[in-house]
Symmetry: C2
Subunit: 434 residues, 2 copies
């Protein structure tokens, strides 16, 4: 075997998203997240991402630059039938490969249109053109096939832009053609979900631990990812198999989990609503909600989980005081004495939801989401959450949340579900302890 016959493995990728709409203030490239996840599974690291408009000169420069640095260049978008779609022609010209119409592709395009009772527009003929030497990657969900071009030891991959077409195509490639071109190591991950603590607080808590793991051999890389009301710790390591990865990731996850204590929601990537649902189902409990400022966001979160009808009964969104009285049976005297935003009213709403839904557990949420309605005592961001049941349990909590209206509502819904999680864990511990 000569040296020239051994192709080096693909290790570094660059992604190029093509489309002028991705350079407006309204739309950003998200395909790269999916593509990165699939490539990472093979241990391929993404080193750079570029976003260019429907301009052949810009596109040509971006591809030429990327080829000087990366083993794999993935282009997403610009394979459609319109005049704006120039990826195929631009890449073919850059690589000096003439485009040839592929009779098989043309046939299947015509069949695709005929199946809908349409004649194929002439525009679409371009989608049957293939650069010399390229491999056609079938697109079962659209008219633009993908193209795989071996350019010496490098690979240029052209994929259509619509996520529902691109996603199955890259998944297939990662399972086959791409897997054959990488080394034996893969990237393995573990995700820890955290509740009740902000990003900086979590950073501070876990930094001494992950600084140590990052210098270990093999290294465990940790990323703290925060979106409103949600913090996740992502651990990753490179290993030849799941057992070897587990031997590295398990102790790191355990140590981080211990530092997070009751704020650790899950160490397997499960979301808060998923974990709360599991606890309810295990205990054979059903829940009903009384929501005010969150306006349905808490039950919407719970119902996001498939199968949630087994433990979610109902919610009453009582936005006015009158609705709180009539639909949740909150006492007028309570509203007058403590105000609508109070732990007392949150507790009464939880109790009222439990009664209305005839469930074992009730949740109550009331607060000031703003921008108006704040007072000196109860400024915008003041939220009271309460859990009634199981049994005689009553827990309530007052939060001072930051952010705008949408953020406060999201954080409040999340805080209520987290309170329920801790109540259910406590109840379970008590039963087990007894």
């Amino acid at each position: 075997m000569t040296a020239a016959a051994v192709t080096p493995p693909i290790a570094r990728a660059e992604l190029i998203a093509v489309g002028s709409e991705l350079l407006t203030p309204f739309k950003t490239d998200t395909n790269s997240l999916f593509v990165t996840a699939r490539l990472n599974e093979l241990g391929i690291v993404v080193r750079r991402k570029s976003i260019v408009g429907d301009d052949p000169e810009d596109l040509r420069a971006a591809v030429a630059d990327a080829l000087t640095r990366a083993d794999l260049v993935v282009l997403c978008g610009g394979l459609g039938p319109t005049g704006d779609d120039l990826t195929r022609e631009t890449v073919a010209a850059l690589l000096g490969r003439p485009l040839r119409e592929d009779a098989g592709l043309l046939d299947s395009l015509r069949t695709r249109f005929a199946a809908r009772g349409w004649t194929m527009p002439d525009n679409n003929r371009r989608q049957a053109c293939v650069p010399e030497g390229a491999v056609v990657i079938p697109n079962p969900r659209g008219s633009a096939p993908g193209l795989w071009i071996d350019e010496g030891p490098r690979v240029v991959l052209l994929l259509p832009g619509p996520p529902r077409e691109l996603e199955p195509m890259i998944t297939d490639l990662v399972g086959g053609r791409l897997a054959a071109r990488v080394g034996p190591e893969r990237l393995h991950r573990r995700v820890l979900t955290v509740a009740g603590r902000g990003e900086s607080h979590v950073e501070e808590l876990v930094q001494p631990i992950y600084d140590r793991w990052r210098r270990a051999d093999p290294a465990v890389l940790t990323t703290v990812l925060a979106s409103p009301g949600l913090v996740e710790l992502h651990l990753s390591t490179r290993a030849g198999g799941a057992d070897a990865a587990g031997a590295v990731l398990d102790p790191a996850a355990a140590e981080l989990g211990a530092a997070l204590g009751e704020h650790l929601v899950s160490d397997d990537g499960r979301s808060l609503p998923d974990v709360v649902g599991g606890l309810l189902q295990d205990a054979g409990l059903r829940v009903a909600l009384g929501e005010s400022c969150t306006g349905g966001l808490a039950i919407a979160g719970l119902i996001d989980v498939p199968g949630s009808s087994r433990y979610v009964e109902a919610a009453v969104v009582a936005y006015s005081n009158d609705a709180k009285r009539r639909l949740l049976g909150v006492d007028s005297a309570l509203l007058e004495t403590h105000g609508a935003v109070s732990e007392e009213v949150a507790g009464a709403m939880a109790e009222g939801a439990r009664r209305a839904g005839r469930t074992e557990v009730g949740i109550g949420i009331t607060g000031v989401a703003g921008p108006g309605g704040g007072t000196e005592d109860k400024p915008v961001g003041t939220v009271c959450v309460a859990v009634a049941g199981p049994g005689g349990a009553h827990e309530q909590q007052t939060l001072r949340l930051g952010g705008d209206r949408a953020m406060i509502r999201r954080l409040a819904a999340r805080a209520a579900l987290d309170l329920l999680r801790r109540v259910l864990l406590g109840a379970r511990a008590t039963v087990r302890g007894g």
Copy 2:
């Protein structure tokens, strides 16, 4: 005045987002959307975006490349105090400008820490270093100042990564320092919001119209933006002032609006919940909702709009049949005869919500969001929505929605609000007509 004294206006920008977390599958650059919006206001077009990790070599290459093409290069991120934050040092080295510690900056950093009762860690000293000739852009919300560097006729701008720090800084620059560096033309926009039609349907309807406007002089550029359940048409044109822009955009918007007919929700960027809220408020009506498969999403959408307490009374999320009977008074016989997912039950839920909330208008939503629960007659995606009132009005509709559970729920909530919109428009037309 010599030729050298006339600096050409800034017209083309490139954005570079810096941070290894932006090359993972979990996080994408979104700062660029905000920055693009602000730059577009000045008529500055974004030609390319790049995302690089915390690697000085990659970062250096990206900045050097961008400087060969753009008048303005904006870097976001990598100005923090940690060892990973290398933007300041890398750009200074590339441009051959030594870094000098700025005594004033160092003072204000120390004051910042002292105000919190902390001593400034030595790490943070780096944030007081300024490349020779750079202008310091104050950051009122964080410790990393921005840096403006005039590099011949070009400008390199370094901004911190956290959105709450970056956003006020770029807004200030667009109002001042950057505004002084652009020509007299600005980009003006108009946004048409569309309901009840998918992206491809809207494309087909409006393409002949916007093809014509795009060839007009001055040209009106049209972008169709679709996210689940929402289609927007964005029109833009370059003009010296609002009046000149209106003279171009108004007739284009009017022609597109006429083609969209009752599917046009607004021609001023207002969202569907906002428009529905306005119609309710104008007519002095309040609404209550009975939701099943949407599980609170419809009321959550309405309540997103500040001030919605004026017209939103309550919602009952009745997930089980039992809850539909007890909380919304849906007749058992109706549930048995027609099934929970039927126009009859949707209508009864709307009526029940109106009764429970003592409002003039009620909405009912019931459907199969999946993944389980579909039948041959009522496959996953079958959703019935109904509106009861104002007065004796009763409207209901059965939809067959595509997508996964989350998508079906979002589309269903949106369809219900759109049905209410059309009922309210009809009622208004009747009153006015009478």
